[in-house]
C-alpha cells in the first residue's frame, strides 16, 4: 500500500465523519463544521492525486483546489450570517426551527 492509497483511505474516513456529523446533528454551527470536513476531504483528494500525475493535470488540480478553498470560505461567511439571524429570531440555531421564510 503506497502513500497515495493511505491518504485516499484517510480522506474517505474524514468524509464519512463529516457525513455522519451532517446527518446526526441539528445544530447549525455543528452542521457547518461537518460541511467544512466534507470540503476538506475532497480538497485533500485533489491535492493527493495532483501529487501523482503529469504536470499539466497537477497544475489544474491545484488551481481547482484554490478556488474550492475560496468558495468554502465564502460559504462559511454567508452561512454564519444566516445562523446569526436564526439565533435572533428563535433563540437557538437549530435548523429544524427554520420552517418559515418570512420573520415570525
Amino acid at each position: 500500500m503506497n502513500e497515495t492509497m493511505i491518504i485516499l483511505y484517510s480522506s474517505i474516513i474524514i468524509f464519512v465523519i463529516g457525513l455522519y456529523g451532517l446527518i446526526a446533528h441539528r445544530n447549525a454551527i455543528r452542521m457547518l463544521i461537518s460541511i467544512e470536513l466534507l470540503l476538506n476531504a475532497a480538497n485533500l483528494n485533489l491535492v493527493n492525486f495532483a501529487h501523482r500525475t503529469a504536470l499539466e493535470n497537477a497544475l489544474q488540480a491545484q488551481i481547482l483546489t484554490l478556488f474550492s478553498i475560496a468558495l468554502a470560505a465564502v460559504e462559511a461567511a454567508i452561512g454564519i450570517a444566516i445562523f446569526i439571524n436564526l439565533y435572533r429570531i428563535y433563540g437557538r440555531a437549530e435548523v429544524d426551527l427554520a420552517r418559515e421564510l418570512k420573520e415570525v
Binding site: 497515495t4 484517510s10 456529523g21 446533528h25 463544521i33 467544512e36 468558495l71 470560505a73 454564519i80 437557538r92
Partner: protein
C-alpha cells in the same frame, strides 16, 4: 523515505482524531477549536504533499478565516443550553451504505504512478495567464457575499 512515511502517518492520525473530536465534542466551543486543529493539520499535509502554496492558503484562509469567524460568532451569540436532538441511527445507516458503495468502487481502482513537482512559480503563471476571468468572477462573488452578509447581520438598523 521512512521519515516521510512516519510523518505522513503521524499527521494523518492527528487529522482523523481532530475530525472525530470536532464532530463529537460536547461543548460547541471545543468543537470549533478542534476544527482549527483539523484545518492546520490538513495544511501541513498539503505542504508534505508538495503543494506549498495551497498549504499556506489553507492555513491563512481556513484556520485564520473560517475558524476564527466561527469562534467570534460563537462568542458574540448568547449562550443557551443546546437542545440535543440527534439522529444517530439514520446517520449510521447512511454512512454504512456510503462506505459499502465507496469500497465497491475503490476495489477496481489502481493507484496512479508518477510524480509531479509543482512549483509555486508555475502555479502562479498558469493561474494568472490561463484563468484570469475566474479570478475576476471570484472577486465579484466575494464582494457580493460581503455586502449580503453585512446586510443579513445588520439589516434591522
Amino acid at each position: 523515505m521512512e521519515l516521510y512515511l512516519i510523518s505522513l502517518l503521524a499527521i494523518l492520525s492527528l487529522v482523523v482524531l481532530s475530525a472525530i473530536l470536532s464532530i463529537e465534542a460536547k461543548e460547541l466551543m471545543h468543537s470549533v477549536f478542534f476544527l482549527g486543529v483539523f484545518l492546520v493539520t490538513i495544511g501541513a499535509l498539503y505542504i508534505l504533499l508538495g503543494a506549498e502554496f495551497i498549504g499556506v492558503i489553507q492555513i491563512l484562509l481556513y484556520a485564520g478565516g473560517v475558524a476564527v469567524l466561527m469562534l467570534f460568532s460563537l462568542m458574540l451569540l448568547p449562550r443557551r443550553g443546546e437542545k440535543e436532538v440527534s439522529y444517530r441511527i439514520p446517520a449510521i445507516a447512511v454512512v454504512m451504505i456510503f462506505i459499502a458503495m465507496l469500497f465497491l468502487m475503490i476495489g477496481k481502482a489502481s493507484p496512479p504512478q508518477g510524480a509531479a513537482q509543482v512549483s509555486t512559480e508555475a502555479l502562479a503563471l498558469t493561474l494568472l495567464s490561463q484563468y484570469p476571468l475566474l479570478i475576476i468572477l471570484l472577486a465579484l462573488l466575494i464582494v457580493v457575499i460581503m455586502v449580503s452578509a453585512s446586510y443579513l447581520v445588520g439589516g434591522e438598523r
